[in-house]
Amino acid sequence: MARVVVDVMLKPEILDPQGQAVANALPRLGVTDVSSVRIGRRIEIDFTGEPDLDRAREIADKLLANPVIEDFEIRVEGVAAEVA
């Protein structure tokens, strides 16, 4: 499978109220040793031929992530990530 994985995360300085809501729920599970939770999005792109990282980077940059508030990492599935 020619799969490229894109992980999109809010930039560290952008407040993540969803992550905070999850973190605040953890004590109800009896979990007290977590200091922070942040939520992002994983996108899997399947190419018809060889996995094309440049193409995937272009897709991520133009559409999948908003550079004003988000960073992304891309990798061919099973290979180490490349930070954008």
């Binding site: 952008i14 407040l15 109220p17 969803q18 559409l63 908003n66 004003v68």
Partner: protein, 231 residues
């Protein structure tokens, strides 16, 4: 004068926006997301709603609609464009306005009548207000928290590009209580609350929203920008 109102799949407030344009005295022209033809309109409103289901990010997919390619070009050439709520999100995604709209800080959808203070009145859509005027229009959003980096926020303030701020309570956590901004030229305006819902006494909390639509007509009359010379 002809004000175009775009309908995307998932737009909700296109009907009210067209109605507001008509009440202000304009001819409302319905524009379709899949049609790049702007049909000679003198100004465009991007309405509220949930374009393309708000999938990925609010406004992210709408930004690539065929009609948006034409609107982005025309806006750079001076066409007055007003983005309301989801339309504001689309304008930010299209990089016609800086910053981004993110999930309300408290995570709740907020739907209420909201007081705003109008600040910049040098734009195509706010020239009929007086600076400092307090207006009451509905707000209804889940992702209306305006964010930008400090440098951008400082520049917006220094250049007088904040057109309205929330007063008597910030409904979504927007930085510096910003409810609406404009581009450098003053022809593109984005606002999170809904002026098109405050144009008639029967349904709105005030008639304050009408000022946005009468402003653009005044601005067009002054500039003589008629008959769709923008395309």
């Amino acid at each position: 004068m002809r004000i175009g109102v775009v309908t995307f799949p998932g737009s909700l407030d296109d009907g009210d926006a067209a109605r507001a344009a008509r009440i202000a005295g304009a001819e409302a022209v319905r524009l379709w997301h899949g049609d790049p033809d702007l049909h000679g309109v003198d100004a465009v409103v991007l309405p509220g709603g949930f374009s393309y289901g708000d999938y990925l990010r609010c406004g992210a997919i709408a930004r690539f609609a065929p009609v948006m390619e034409s609107i982005i070009d025309a806006a750079r050439g001076g066409l007055p464009v007003l983005g309301i709520c989801n339309g504001f999100q689309v304008l930010c995604e299209a990089h016609l306005l800086p910053g981004a709209l993110t999930r309300n800080q408290h995570l709740h959808f907020r739907n209420r009548d909201q007081w705003l203070k109008v600040e910049s009145t040098n734009t195509a859509w706010t020239n009929g207000f007086t600076a400092g005027q307090e207006i009451l229009i509905p707000v209804k959003n889940g992702e209306g928290c305006f964010v930008a980096d400090t440098k951008t926020l400082d520049a917006l303030e220094a250049e007088g590009r904040v057109i309205a701020r929330y007063i008597k309570g910030n409904p979504n956590g927007s930085q510096r209580d910003i409810a609406g901004i404009t581009n450098e030229a003053g022809n593109v305006v984005g606002i999170m609350p809904h002026p098109e819902h405050a144009v008639e006494a029967l349904t709105g909390p005030s008639l304050d929203g009408l000022g946005f639509f009468t402003s653009v007509l005044r601005s067009l009359a002054k500039d003589g920008q008629l008959a769709g010379g923008q395309q």
